[in-house]
Each structure stands twice: as structure tokens, then as C-alpha cells.
Amino acid sequence: MERQIINKRKRVFSLQPNKNPKALFARRYVSHLVPALKKINMKKSSSKTNHPSFEKTVKHEVDMAFALSAQEFAWSRFLLQKLLSSVHDDPVRTSSSPSEILERSSKKQGGGKHQDRDEEEGGEIKKRLKELQKLLPGGEEMNMEEILSEIGSYIVCLELQMIVLKSIVQDNIS
């Protein structure tokens, strides 16, 4: 209690909160997640829910907050679509359907002289790109270049999300 008072006095404001995109993401994320959690908590206290579905709801809310806070990126739109379409189902994992676009784009690679080496390497790379496609929401519809650009932003947002979640959890524990 005391600590809270002391903490409130030492609040630090950022001068331009909306200009730093990472701060913006974190702020949006928190603003989406916390009210959702409160709502869940209220529902939980009112009715008895078993743990698995509660966890799923929380996970769903976490994902929703994630997708809503990063609207600038393609993967977030895909993720949002997926979440909205599967509201009452189990949490959906990225499907593992093979991508024709990817194969086509990798086939174009490689000049005539180094075909053998490139083919082997291309095969390895293809495999990995497929893996990556599974991980990234919406990855199946993207070709290699798009995946590479989207993955960067996805990684950063994941990191930020993790930081926020840890802080929330820590906050509630202490």
C-alpha cells in the first residue's frame, strides 16, 4: 500500500507517448488486455468455471489484444480473422497446408550454372520457410519476401507482449 503511494509520486511520463511505436504497441496492448481480464475475472467470480475453458478464454483474450494492438501489420490482420472466426472453438493453431506460392517463388531462384548446389540449398531453405509459414499467422498466403519482412515485426511484437505479460503477472503476484 505504501509502496503504491510512493510509486505514484514517482510517475514518469514520456513526452510523446504516441510517437514511439513500441511504446504505442505496449500501451495499446495493455489497454486491450486489462479490461478484458477484468471482465473475465468478474464472470469467473459470478459463475463457477472449470480451469481449461477459463485458460482458453484468457489465452483468447491475450491473442485478441495482441492482434488488435498491431493493426499495421499483415500478420495481425490474419490473426484477428482467425480469432474472430473461431470464438467458440478451441484455440486454433496455424494450419500446416503446403503453400504453392512459396514453391513457385523458390523455383525461380538459382541461375543455370549453380543449379545443383542451389537446388539442395533451395530444398533446405524451402523446408524452413514452410516451418516459418506455419508459425506466422497468415504465412501461407505470403511469398518468401513478405514472410521475411513480416517476421521482423512479429518478433518484436512478441517480445513486447511477453514483457507486458510478465509485468502483469508479476504485478499480481506481488
Binding site: R3, Q4, N7, K8, K10, R11, V12, S14, Q16, K19, N20, P21, K22, A26, V30, S31, L37, K38, N41, K44, H51, E55, V58, K59, E72, Q109, G111, E121, I125, R128, L129, E131, L132, L135, M144, E145, L148, S149, E150, I151, G152, S153, I155, V156, L158, E159, L160, Q161, M162, I163, V164, K166, S167, I168, V169, Q170, D171, N172, I173, S174
Partner: protein, 333 residues
């Protein structure tokens, strides 16, 4: 040369490299041409027997009508979009192609050379998604190399260009010149640039060379991040939010200056065995249990190129630091 003078006077709004190139051209063709401010040249044909008339100097400069040069008015060759967009990097290659093809038939040899140089520069810029100053400088360096090549091989090139009426992207020395391989090359460069960016982003990738290994690392990293987040959300579900849980509390912590924190044991985390340098102990200690040490994302983002350009707004790191420490100060308590 009016155009050249204009170019010099418009220094502020044109790209330096183009200007330097033009001066070099002028000097090459007319050794006696020293200072562009020497005075107005009434007759544009004075330079190099008319071959290098005002077109060259105005090529690519968005000159105002003040100077009254017919070169600017009559045939709007190069003067409009290319140079103004050169610096911004928001250039679309397609637009340029259609514009130049229209003016193509009327162009003179040297002008074509200018065009090809600039087009290649621009195509590189577009293709490499030139959002950051670093790559802009790269483009300028390449352009200068081209310029040197150009002044050496000008006669050869002009003959080549006379044969067709299309704008050619200038291929570098010793490389194939057909459009497919150039497009391939540009695409490959784009991809490798993105891979480099990702290399900076994913901790522990400095020593890995080759696409396959890098992709492996990226996959592992993304998987581990996703797993951690899943774990955290489960933990969140277990830990009930306090009724008085206030959003402000998250933002309201004391600023903690890099204190080493105790590692929170978390048996469910996968220890992936990556070892990295700790840059910001503020949150790297948290990540220890997952095996990843995170470099301060702000610093990484500042060196990134296009993909995360929206994260790259040049804010002073100190603001981010104080914000973050503000946000996660409780972890140090």
C-alpha cells in the same frame, strides 16, 4: 551553363550525388569548365560542341523557369519526378519507366546515360526498400561508382544505347545484362537485406552465415517466444487479477537503474541453451530463464531497415529506457 548554375543554386533541394555527377560530367567534357557560378552562358552549345547542351545539366534537376532556359520548358526530359523522389526513397519504378519511355525518342546520348544511371540507382532504391539513411548512402556510393564507370565507357555505352529506344538499367561490370537476371539480382539483394535485419533482431545470430541456418534460428526463436507467451497466459489465468487492479499501476513504478535481479525459476520454460550478451540488464535478467538474453529492442530497431521502419522513428533511447523501466520496475523489487 545556366542549368549548371541553377543546379548549384538549387543545392538545397536536389540530391547531392546527382549534382556531383553532373559536375563531373561537365568537367569531363569540358575541362575548362570550373565554377558553375562563373556566369551565365548564353549559348548552350558552347559546351562540347552542342552535344552537352542544357539537357545534361538540367537532367534530373527540377529547375525553376527563372533561368528561362528552353531546355527546361520545351522538353521536360528528366526534370520532374526522379530527382525529387530520389532522396525520399518513396519512388515507384513503374511511374518512372512510363515517363521516360515517352520522352525516349527525343533524348540525346548523354541524357540517356544519365537516365540509365539514375534509373538503376532508383531501381535499386525501390527494390531494396530504401527507408533508412544507411541504404541511401549505399545507393549514392553505387551511383558514384557508376559515374566513374560511365565517364570511362561513355563512348561504348552510347553506341549500345543508340541501338534501341528503351531505357536500360545499367548493369554493373562483369555481370549479366538481361532483365531477368537483373530482376533476380535485385530480388536476391532484397532478401539478403531482410535476412541481415533479422540477424540483428534474433539474438545470437551474428556468427551464423547462410540462409538455412539463419532461418533455423529464426524459427526456433519464434517458437520459443510463442511458447513463453502461452505459458505466461496460463500463469495469468491462474493468478487472479486483484479487484483493484489498475492499469496505472503498471506504468507507475519507480525508475530502477540497472540492478541485477534474481532469476525466477520456471521449470516449464524450455532452456534452449542460447548464450548472448547482456545489454540491458533491466530486462535481460527476466529472459535468463528462457535462455535468451534480449538486446534492447529499441537499439535494434534503430538500426533496422525497411521492415520495421514504423518502429524506427529516431526517438532518443533515453525516453524508451525510462518508459520501460517505469513499466517493469517492479521486476527489480
Amino acid at each position: 551553363m545556366n542549368g549548371a548554375i541553377g543546379g548549384d543554386l538549387l543545392l538545397n533541394c536536389t540530391d547531392m550525388s546527382v549534382l556531383e555527377r553532373q559536375r563531373a560530367h561537365l568537367k569531363y567534357f569540358n575541362p575548362s569548365f570550373d565554377s558553375p557560378l562563373a556566369g551565365f552562358f548564353a549559348d548552350s552549345s558552347m559546351i562540347n560542341g552542342g552535344e552537352m547542351d542544357g539537357y545534361l545539366a538540367t537532367a534530373g534537376l527540377n529547375l525553376p523557369m527563372i533561368y528561362g532556359e528552353t531546355t527546361v520548358e520545351g522538353d521536360p526530359r528528366m526534370s520532374i519526378s526522379p530527382e525529387t523522389t530520389l532522396g525520399t526513397g518513396n519512388f515507384k519504378k513503374r511511374k518512372f519507366d512510363t515517363e521516360t519511355k515517352d520522352r525516349n525518342e527525343k533524348k540525346k546520348k548523354m541524357n540517356r546515360e544519365e537516365v540509365t544511371e539514375e534509373e538503376e540507382e532508383k531501381s535499386k532504391i525501390t527494390e531494396l526498400n530504401n527507408g533508412s539513411p544507411k541504404s541511401i548512402k549505399k545507393m549514392k556510393n553505387k551511383a558514384k561508382k557508376e559515374e566513374n564507370n560511365c565517364s570511362n565507357d561513355s563512348s561504348k555505352v552510347t553506341k549500345e544505347l543508340e541501338k534501341t529506344d528503351y531505357i536500360h538499367v545499367r548493369a554493373r561490370r562483369g555481370q549479366a545484362t538481361d532483365s531477368h537476371s537483373i530482376a533476380e539480382r535485385v530480388r536476391r539483394e532484397k532478401i539478403s537485406e531482410r535476412m541481415k535485419f533479422l540477424q540483428d533482431l534474433v539474438p545470437g545470430c551474428d556468427k551464423i552465415t547462410g540462409k538455412a541456418g539463419m532461418l533455423d534460428e529464426i524459427i526456433n526463436y519464434v517458437q520459443s517466444l510463442q511458447r513463453q507467451i502461452e505459458f505466461l497466459s496460463m500463469k495469468l489465468a491462474v493468478v487472479n487479477p486483484r479487484p483493484d487492479f489498475d492499469m496505472d499501476d503498471i506504468f507507475d513504478k519507480e525508475v530502477i537503474v540497472s540492478t541485477p535481479m534474481t532469476v525466477v525459476p520456471s521449470p516449464e520454460m524450455v532452456h534452449s541453451g542460447y548464450s548472448h550478451e547482456m545489454v540491458n540488464s533491466g530486462y535481460s535478467n527476466e529472459m535468463v530463464n528462457s535462455g535468451y538474453h534480449h538486446v534492447n529492442p529499441m537499439q535494434q530497431a534503430e538500426t533496422s531497415s525497411d521492415p520495421l521502419s514504423c518502429f524506427n522513428n529516431g526517438q532518443a533511447p533515453s525516453m524508451w529506457d525510462s518508459y520501460v523501466q517505469n513499466l517493469y520496475g517492479s521486476l527489480g523489487v
